[in-house]
């Protein structure tokens, strides 16, 4: 019986010109968005890989010099594109692509692509994610709002129910029919997406579980919209008022809530200004150990400590190069300052994002947005993972170079020079995105919000089917 | 006063009205009888210029309704089967608006209440929102609107269908009063009894054509019903 109803619903839709038109438009937009996104993804990935290799080559080819000078020469790291960024580029246009790694300083990840774009970028890119989050729910509303209200107005509902069909079966049948119709719209994009993902390269293995979780998230989201639409269709006075209410729900979710949440989050947890942030770090670093300044009080204390430990009288008699130790001491102090400030900054961002997640319980589109970006590896947290990895790499590099200076450069001071073999021994940077299990777990509140919405909407629809008004 | 000359309306080859010729003089009530889809409402819509004739012409006071859409409407009043009013406004406010649209500004509230009272609506009812009205009450507001306009032509589309017998009777009395004042009335109806009682002439329509034209004074109730059914049978 239910399948019979589903089939009727599906056939009816398939014959509807409006359905075909919207299916074609949405299908083309989604496949097109995937294709454009993938091309951009491929170009940028290649470019970044090339640039990073070039930077490394230059670092290794810098010839004989003091290891600390090599640390100053530094190198550029480029943020690799996450495998699923072609589905949802997330915050990628608004985070930098490259960070300069050098001694003493933690640099920002620079060059936000959005700065090299026109104001149109702010309307949002055409991406598979935006089609799934914004356009498809609208199509669901268009198709589902007359499901019950329309039949009621035509008078066919009276006839159907007079035949002894259980209202809940009718509803379930309609839901399945509509879901099948939506499946037809999405299918080409899913196939194209899967084919593209299989051509992503080395990271494809790690990307599949993420893609599966992403698909599950969107399935929940779209099912939720279907359930809400059917609920409205059952409860509304007329098809017209069902439509108006659903459009209102859609607008609040997709247009109003994201910006409202942004401003609310910013109000609750203000972001410091760049100037404030930078000058606080500057001040605290200046108060610490300056490895370059032999007059520094703390350097003298460090010196005395070392002289005591090795039981010698002069710095020149130390079995190690004092410069290297002093520089590393300065570095350690700076790192502590950086950690303190960046942790505070990131925790501000975390609080802001937590506020956004909390609002996801009110507006499920917020939940799918964070879920989608998180799983695609393009949200602020994944960006932070890159920034931290780059910073860890910087510290390791600088420490190894300072250590070399300290252990091998005894009694030569700054005259000590190392060669390309040392530069070649330096570890290579490779960014491993956080494991998928951790990402899924971290997005817990969003999963919960989406799951709750879906369950409550489905239950509400099923419950109101029991008291279905006939006219 | 009301005049149709070879008035024809076709929809995609289907003739809804076929060369109708008709003249209604002042002080006359002309009743259009016929089955659903016979062309009665089409005739009234053509006089209202709500639809364009395919050929022929409809005139009110000698003016073609297509060429003078606004001028002709100054002289007519229209009461549809369902007098639909603005539900969130009171009967009084509705009347005031329609009177204003008709270009009559001289009425004060008292005047409007008077008109509504004449149509049979108490002041208390007149000050209630239309959403609380019964069909008969809305019909009364419709009559008051027509009366306020002091129209010389009245177009009625099954005005008494769905009214209870008492309301229906009151409505007929009103029509007679207007007729006596010299108004030309064109009324589409299914009610043979009322047509005979109040009408001066009766036209029976079938598939867009006027198949019979009778003077009510010359036929009895039974005759009218027999003639009507005869025409419907073949």
């Amino acid at each position: 019986m239910i399948l019979r109803i589903a089939r009727k619903e599906f056939v009816e839709l398939a014959r509807d010109g409006r359905f075909r038109a919207s299916a074609a438009v949405v299908g083309i937009l989604m496949v097109g968005a995937l294709a454009v996104g993938w091309e951009g993804w491929r170009d940028i990935s290649r470019e970044h890989a090339r640039a990073e290799a070039d930077s490394r080559e230059r670092f290794e080819g810098q010839g004989e010099k003091n290891p600390h000078s090599a640390a100053h020469y530094g190198l550029h790291l480029f943020k690799p594109k996450s495998s699923l960024a072609f589905v949802d580029p997330g915050v990628d246009p608004y985070t930098g692509i490259s960070v300069f790694v050098e001694a003493h300083r933690r640099n920002e990840v620079d060059y936000r692509p959005a700065r090299d774009a026109t104001a149109l970028e702010r309307f949002g890119d055409l991406t598979a994610a935006s089609v799934l989050q914004v356009l498809l729910p609208l199509v669901i509303i268009f198709l589902a709002f007359p499901a019950v209200a329309g039949e009621r107005e035509q008078g066919t509902l009276r006839q159907v129910l007079s035949l002894g069909v259980r209202p809940r079966d009718l509803l379930l049948g309609k839901a399945i029919g509509l879901a099948a119709a939506m499946g037809i719209i999405v299918l080409p994009a899913v196939v194209v997406g899967a084919v593209l993902l299989s051509r992503v390269g080395d990271d494809a293995g790690a990307a599949w579980p993420r893609a599966a979780a992403l698909a599950a998230g969107y399935l929940l989201y779209l099912a939720m919209f279907l359930a809400v639409s059917l609920f409205a269709s059952i409860r509304a006075k007329s098809g017209r008022s069902a439509l108006v209410a659903l459009l209102g729900f859609w607008i609040l979710n997709t247009m109003v809530a994201p910006r409202l949440a942004t401003d609310l989050a910013r109000r609750l947890h203000p972001t410091p200004s760049a100037l404030e942030f930078a000058s606080a770090i500057d001040r605290e670093i200046r108060e610490g150990v300056d490895g370059h300044d032999p007059q520094d009080e703390r350097i003298r204390r460090l010196e005395e400590e070392l002289l005591d430990r090795y039981d010698v009288d002069f710095v020149e008699d130390l079995p190690i190069n004092f410069q290297g130790v002093a520089l590393q001491a300065g570095e350690d102090h700076g790192n502590a300052v950086f950690d303190r400030h960046y942790d505070a900054l990131w925790s501000t961002f975390d609080h802001q994002d937590a506020a956004r997640s909390a609002l996801g319980f009110l507006a499920p589109t917020l939940a799918i947005r964070s879920l989608s970006m998180g799983l695609a590896g393009t949200d602020a947290v994944e960006h932070r993972a890159f920034a931290e990895a780059a910073e860890a790499h910087r510290r390791e590099l600088v420490r190894l170079l300072n250590d070399d200076l300290a252990t091998n450069g005894a009694d030569l001071g700054f005259m000590y020079q190392a060669g390309p073999e040392l530069w070649g021994q330096m570890p290579r940077f490779r960014f491993e995105p956080p494991p998928v299990a951790g990402t899924i777990a971290r997005l817990g509140p969003s999963w919960l919000a989406l799951g709750l919405w879906t369950i409550v909407a489905a239950a509400a629809a099923a419950w109101s089917a029991r008291t279905l008004r006939i006219d | 006063m009301l005049e149709a000359t070879d008035l024809t309306k076709s929809y995609n080859g289907h003739l809804a009205l076929d060369r109708l010729n008709l003249a209604v003089r002042p002080g006359e009530i002309f009743c259009l009888l016929g089955a659903n889809g016979a062309g009665k409402t089409t005739t009234i819509n053509l006089f209202l210029n709500f639809i364009r004739p395919s050929s022929g012409s409809a005139r009110i006071k000698g003016l073609d309704v297509v060429e003078h859409p606004l001028e002709t409407k100054r002289h007519l009043a229209y009461i549809p089967e369902q007098v639909n009013l603005y539900r969130n406004l009171t009967g009084l406010e509705n009347l005031a608006y329609f009177a204003a649209l008709a270009g009559h500004r001289e009425h004060a509230t008292a005047g409007f209440l008077e008109l509504l009272a004449q149509a049979g609506l108490t002041e208390e009812a007149a000050r209630k929102r239309v959403s609380t009205y019964s069909k008969g009450m809305r019909q009364k507001v419709g009559i008051a609107i027509a009366a306020a306009k002091q129209a010389e032509v009245l177009l009625l589309d099954e005005p008494t269908s769905g009214l209870d017998p008492k309301a229906s009777n009151e409505f007929s009395e009103l029509l007679v009063r207007l007729r006596d004042r010299g108004v030309a009335v064109l009324m589409a109806t299914h009610d043979l009894f009322r047509a005979k009682e109040t009408g001066t002439r009766v036209g029976i329509m079938k598939r867009g054509r006027m198949v019979a034209l009778l003077d009510t004074a010359e036929v009895g109730h039974a005759d009218l019903e027999r003639i009507y059914l005869d025409h419907m049978h073949d």
């Binding site: 937009l29 454009v36 470019e47 640039a51 930077s55 915050v91 246009p93 608004y94 920002e108 060059y111 700065r115 774009a117 026109t118 104001a119 149109l120 702010r122 309307f123 949002g124 890119d125 055409l126 935006s130 356009l135 609208l138 268009f142 709002f145 007359p146 017209r240 439509l243 459009l247 607008i251 109003v256 994201p258 949440a261 942004t262 401003d263 989050a265 972001t271 200004s273 100037l275 404030e276 942030f277 900054l345 802001q352 956004r356 602020a380 | 819509n45 209202l48 639809i51 606004l70 409407k73 549809p80 369902q82 639909n84 009013l85 603005y86 329609f98 204003a100 649209l101 270009g103 419709g142």
Partner: protein, 468 residues
């Protein structure tokens, strides 16, 4: 007659609770948008003040040092030019900045200018949660471009269809009024209400938000109102045209929601894709590489470069022999690097200019794009003013370096007298006629489609099926 229809419409609308809800909602979002914009403008102003304070403190410290006996001969020009004497080039928020956040959260409004190379000007990014940047702000720009059309459509998607469905239309048109008059009356009343509300509250917000006084503020406010009114007119015209097709209310709502989504979201995104595909901006990764390469080469050339540098700047190769070796080398490298990346830097700017030109042409495809650009222009938070600022910063950077270069090369310290001579930046506002010209073009891009759609609607009204 029109006035009577409008009066009646007002009464009908007023009797309906949903109008009050809608008007309340619109008022609330407009007010909230104005509030958010004002607080953002305040934040920006505070950031500029903090920068100015930091600069003043640094100069005070410098002055104190120069006054102390130890440093009486002065402080090295290189040190002053690179850090202690750095100047901020700042673009204050525009007169109407509280109305639109625009690009001002992305494009920096102050830059620290030092004697470092040209590319040091590019790196200044404000700290922000990237998700905020991605989402955008709830400012009046958003309210006007996205939500205001929805308020208009919610009030007029059933302009005629509702009257037809309720059956009142036939009775109205049996009176001596034309359908066009009725429609015009309805639209005018709704227009007065919605446009009036949007304009009035935004102006009140602006006045309360403060910071809005100065020459040209009235002209700009006038332009703002004109854009808001013209954009509203377009959506009303569209609602009339869709109603004139004679479909039911639900169909109208569907069609209008579809058109709204297409114009406000889909077309801009497609134009964005097209613009980026036709005029791709070169990769920043490439620029990073080029900079590296250029500076490696310059370093390698070493003394040769220095010699050539003095050939290029004979005025600097004074008799003084105690020119700072390191400083000369640094300047020579800097200049060489700048010369060799000028091409690629130019390519960025040229491509961006081409993109902007293409957007300027294609914006007429969607009134939403036209409105966004026009509102940002009026408020001074768009790309145009940012470019205007960037040009001034570059010129200032040149004059700043021109002040320090000879002193660095001649190893001439900065003394107390020189301190006040260090160039300071003053922002020159974009001339109003230029802004007005651009906005006027945008206005034409709103009025023309409004008139066109309105004419189509007017024509279709002539065939409107009043019955059946």
């Amino acid at each position: 007659m029109l006035a009577r229809i409008m009066r009646h419409e007002a009464r009908v609308l007023a009797a309906d609770r949903s109008l009050w809800a809608l008007a309340g909602l619109l008022a609330a979002v407009v007010a909230y948008g104005a509030l958010n914009g004002a607080s953002w403008a305040e934040t920006r102003r505070a950031a500029l003040e903090a920068a100015a304070a930091e600069e003043a403190a640094r100069f005070d410290e410098l002055r104190r040092r120069l006054g102390s006996p130890g440093d009486a001969i002065g402080v090295g020009a290189l040190e002053v030019g690179r850090s202690s004497g750095a100047r901020y080039a700042a673009m204050p928020p525009g007169l109407l900045a509280a109305l639109v956040v625009g690009q001002s959260d992305l494009l920096p409004s102050y830059v620290k200018v030092t004697t470092d190379g040209r590319q040091s000007l590019d790196g200044a990014d404000e700290i922000e949660n990237p998700t905020h940047l991605l989402t955008g702000r709830f400012d009046l720009g958003f309210v006007i471009v996205v939500l205001y059309p929805l308020a208009i459509l919610a009030l007029s998607f059933d302009l005629l269809s509702a009257e037809k469905e309720r059956g009142t239309l036939a009775l109205v048109l049996s009176q001596p009024v034309s359908l066009r008059q009725v429609v015009l009356g309805k639209v005018l009343l709704r227009g007065l209400l919605v446009v009036g509300l949007a304009v009035a509250i935004s102006m009140v917000g602006l006045a309360v938000g403060g910071g809005a006084s100065g020459p040209g503020v009235l002209a700009r406010a006038g332009l703002w109102m004109a854009v808001v009114a013209a954009y509203g007119a377009f959506w009303f015209a569209l609602a009339v045209a869709v109603n004139a097709m004679g479909r039911g209310s639900s169909a109208n709502a569907l069609i209008l929601a579809g058109i709204w989504l297409a114009l406000v979201a889909v077309v801009p995104a497609l134009v964005n894709v097209a613009v980026k595909a036709v005029h791709p901006v070169p990769s920043r990764a490439e620029l990073v590489q080029a900079l590296r390469e250029a500076s490696d080469e310059a370093q390698a050339e070493g003394s040769r470069l220095k010699a050539r540098y003095f050939e290029d700047h004979p005025e600097l190769a004074g008799g003084d022999v105690d020119a700072d070796e390191y400083a000369v080398q640094a300047l020579a490298v800097q200049e060489a690097v700048e010369a060799s990346v000028r091409d690629i830097q130019g390519r960025f700017e040229a491509q961006l200019a081409r993109q902007q030109a293409m957007v300027d042409r294609l914006r007429f495809l969607s009134p939403a794009i036209v409105t966004v650009e026009a509102l940002q222009d009026v408020a001074g938070t768009g790309a145009a003013r940012a470019r205007h600022f960037a040009g001034q910063v570059e010129a200032f950077h040149e004059s700043y370096r021109a002040f320090f270069r000879p002193r660095i090369l001649r190893a001439e310290p900065i003394g107390p007298k020189d301190l006040d001579a260090i160039p300071a930046f003053t922002f020159r506002e974009e001339p109003l006629p230029g802004v007005a010209g651009r906005v006027a073009l945008g206005l034409a891009g709103l009025v023309l489609p409004a008139v066109l759609v309105g004419a189509v609607g007017r024509k279709a009204l002539g065939r409107y099926p009043i019955v059946g």
